[in-house]
Symmetry: C2
Subunit: 159 residues, 2 copies
């Protein structure tokens, strides 16, 4: 567990939502000189706290596509079967996120495809990937009401 002071948290808070801010502007926001701000950012990167920087793209604006969320249950709960399924997921580019969960399902997948035809192919590949039984339930996303915009690190790290 890396320990961070308030200034580090402020830096992370800003970078979560404005990753392309200049170091100079960032330093003003957190009341630091540009050089010590940069030093902290580099340290956070090296420590693995800042993992990567991404752009959000307005996909509906540039192409037709469908987003689905699929629940997955494996009949056989052996480590081997889990690993194999995870491997398959990792090598399937249409699956953009995958969570292992407790409860009535084993996995949640988020899948993005150009059209339903391609989705069916991905689905088939997941189902018939091996000879083990698997139940996949698909939910087509009709609207995304809330996008991830960064966590409230103050709340999460307080206490």
């Amino acid at each position: 567990m890396v320990s961070l002071d308030k200034t580090d948290l402020k830096i992370l808070q800003v970078l979560q939502a404005e990753a392309r801010i200049t170091n100079q502007d960032l330093s003003e926001r957190v009341n630091l000189s540009a050089s010590s701000c940069l030093q902290r950012v580099r340290r956070l990167e090296q420590a693995g706290v800042l993992m990567s920087y991404h752009s959000r793209i307005n996909l509906p604006l540039i192409c037709r596509h469908i987003v689905c969320i699929a629940t997955v249950s494996l009949k056989n709960h052996s480590q081997q079967d889990f690993r194999e399924f995870e491997q398959l997921v990792k090598s399937t580019p249409e699956v953009v996120e995958c969570y292992t969960v407790s409860g009535e399902f084993d996995f949640f997948l988020k899948i993005i495809c150009p059209d339903m035809n391609q989705y069916l192919k991905v689905n088939d590949a997941l189902v018939s990937s091996a000879n083990r039984s698997i139940t996949i339930n698909t939910h087509v996303v009709m609207n995304q009401n809330k996008y991830f915009e960064g966590l409230d690190l103050g709340k999460l790290t307080s206490e």
Copy 2:
């Protein structure tokens, strides 16, 4: 629908996964001069194609927390009830993503809390927010196997 050429797609492809790349490096990657590369990036921002830039933070490294995925079904499917629920979700910081879906559920939520105690509070707030009936099913995330790293825009936009 905004129409993009191959160079625009390359720019988006790079920025999705390396949002803090310098414009100069980006221009080399896409075989353009720095100035025309910058011009394209600004145009993509103005057109709303590039929406925002985010950092991924290694949360397990800096604090204890739990991630849950919840399925939600409303008993009453009136527009009014949907809107009210969406409003509640938007004003609840622990809910970091929300999808309206077709099928057996109405919404999928991703929720991040410092601990289970706080999760229960959020859950209660969602359930008892109003006098309408709602079914929430919680799945604790045990592992995230695949993170969003950027779409393959070539595949999505081809044809």
